[in-house]
């Protein structure tokens, strides 16, 4: 999906726990996430802690979307 959306010229950031490069889905901008069942959350944290965590992950995603890249780039 990532590649096809990017083909429209829209920057896309893939937030994924599995960022296998060899089996790559072809994402150019990647933000590694927490865990498969909760990529942008962490139930073991307090509500505030989890909110902060998610915020930091979204910040990375936005940073990725505003950064010029020339190939696969991992933002972590």
């Amino acid at each position: 999906m990532v590649k096809e959306i990017e083909r429209y010229g829209i920057p896309i950031v893939h937030m994924a726990t599995i960022i296998t490069i060899s089996q790559s889905v072809g994402a150019n901008r990647i933000v590694p996430t927490v865990a498969i069942p909760h990529p942008v959350g962490n139930p073991s944290l307090s509500a505030e802690g989890e909110h902060e965590l998610r915020k930091s992950l979204v910040d990375k995603a936005l940073k990725a979307l505003t950064t010029e890249v020339s190939g696969i780039t991992i933002f972590d």
Partner: protein, 120 residues
């Protein structure tokens, strides 16, 4: 030491979960021959948990799972020789641990204990 009651594949999946949380992969999850992939036992060494996720480690564990599934499609795990596989597993683990210690002088802590094993 984590003992996983399950198969080689269950071990790989558990490792994947940990590696995705930032636990280092110290030894390679696969053996050096296809025969070893039929083993009911597998030990893999994991290192410290870091805040940073290691993309290369994730790549290795993910492609190991894919390889494992490819090779074992339609195949039964070789329980008949379970005892011998256990022996080889522990022998290979010893060498890996020795090599790990020589390289790192123990400055990296092993995660939680030292390794994963299956039992089925």
């Amino acid at each position: 030491m984590f003992f996983i009651e399950g198969t080689f594949e269950d071990v790989l999946i558990k490792i994947r979960d940990y590696v995705h949380q930032g636990v280092e992969l110290v030894s390679h999850p696969l053996g050096a021959s296809i025969r070893i992939l039929f083993s009911p036992y597998r030990s893999v060494i994991l290192g410290e948990k870091n805040n940073k996720i290691n993309a290369y480690h994730i790549e290795i564990i993910e492609s190991s799972i894919i390889s494992y599934r490819n090779i074992n499609a339609g195949r039964k795990i070789d329980y008949k020789n379970a005892h011998d596989y256990a022996l080889i597993d522990v022998e290979l683990l010893k060498v890996s641990l020795k090599s790990f210690k020589e390289i790192n002088n123990n400055h990296i802590n092993l995660f939680g204990g030292d390794s994963f094993e299956t039992g089925a």
